[in-house]
């Protein structure tokens, strides 16, 4: 199964919600997706296109465009194509459906994305902070307008 076949199959099935689907190279394909279709597309890719391994799930903050883009990298043990799905969310209230029912290992990825970016994953089984302490909840440290960095450091040295 090569990259062209995969992207054609996806575009045929979800032509309304897939935007800018393209083949980047022999082993990389990417597409922008509407937020409400994410579980459906992941289920289809896992069942029909042999994408059985979620490599990573994270987010990127774009303050000027007022969006947070959630990025999924989904790979496969049967063929060599890696799929990149990007989902644009509004920056003031980013919400998306959790894909834990499809890929179980998205659990901690989504918890980390939640604590660092504030993306709320609906129907997540256990959406609580992963490594950050509770008092940092709501600050979203990896957003680009975060201002809570320490500014009085190393007073013992100067």
């Amino acid at each position: 199964m090569d990259a062209k076949t995969i992207i054609d199959s996806l575009v045929n099935k979800f032509q309304d919600s897939l935007v800018d689907a393209k083949v980047d190279s022999d082993i990389r394909v990417s597409a922008y997706l509407e937020p409400e279709k994410i579980v459906e597309v992941c289920q289809y890719m896992k069942d029909e296109l042999l994408f059985d391994h979620l490599s990573s799930e994270t987010a990127v903050d774009y303050p000027k465009r007022n969006e947070i883009v959630v990025v999924y990298h989904i790979g496969s043990y049967d063929h060599s194509v890696l799929m990149t799905i990007k989902v644009k969310l509004p920056r003031d209230a980013p919400e998306i459906e959790s894909i834990v029912p499809v890929y179980w290992n998205a659990n901690w990825y989504e918890r980390e994305t939640y604590e660092l970016f504030g993306v709320k994953f609906n129907n997540h089984p256990n959406l609580k902070p992963l490594v950050l302490p509770d008092e940092l909840m709501g600050d979203w440290p990896l957003r680009k307008d975060y201002e809570g960095f320490p500014n009085r450091t190393a007073r013992n040295l100067v």
Binding site: P133, G148, P150, A154
Partner: protein, 184 residues
């Protein structure tokens, strides 16, 4: 028993027990305070400085050097410096890495669990100033405001010889009665 105590010893406003005629009552705190003014404190300090058992509590890559220092090659036992696993049995806590906001409560708990007299050694650039995590959102800065630190050992990470030298400096401070672990 409670009645007996109520009848014979009455606590005054400062909290000290009133003297019973013919009996000298004292407390361990009073004995300690008295000994601090005498030559006996030198002997006590000699014993303390030769049994600086440190807490094996690695927090970063400096922790690897700390464990290496405690192993056979550097043989810290000759100075009485022995790694201990329990904070109850340890005298020295080595802050060996960056302190995150999430880890600070656990570090405080370990510090409170240690029995006095106790000392802190700041090991590595991360614990001194933040190191490469100088302006991170999740690290605690100015750790010397939270713990009475006696010795700072710079380095990234410091070699085991540097940690040994830090221990020896701490021993010198204890003998000179300049350490922060005891109020003289």
């Amino acid at each position: 028993m409670d009645e007996l105590n109520d009848n014979e010893t009455v606590e005054n406003q400062e909290g000290y027990v009133e003297e019973i005629p013919g009996v000298i009552t004292t407390t361990s705190m009073a004995i300690t305070d008295f000994l601090k003014k005498t030559k006996a404190q030198d002997i006590i300090n000699w014993g303390r400085k030769n049994s600086l058992w440190f807490l094996t509590q690695p927090m970063g890559c400096c922790g690897v050097e700390m464990i290496a220092t405690g192993c056979a090659h550097y043989d810290t036992d000759r100075f009485g410096i022995i790694p201990r696993n329990s904070p109850r049995a340890a005298d020295v806590m080595i802050i060996s890495g960056y302190v995150t906001k999430k880890y600070l409560p656990a570090l405080n708990t370990l510090w409170e669990q240690m029995a006095a007299p106790k000392w802190v050694i700041c090991m590595g650039d991360c614990s001194i100033s933040g190191g490469p995590f100088y302006e991170s959102y999740s690290t605690v800065q100015n750790i010397d405001k939270m713990f009475p630190i006696d010795v700072f050992i710079p380095g990234c990470p410091p070699r085991p010889e540097a940690l040994l030298q830090g221990f020896i400096e701490l021993q010198k401070k204890i003998m000179a009665k300049k350490d922060h672990g005891t109020d003289y």
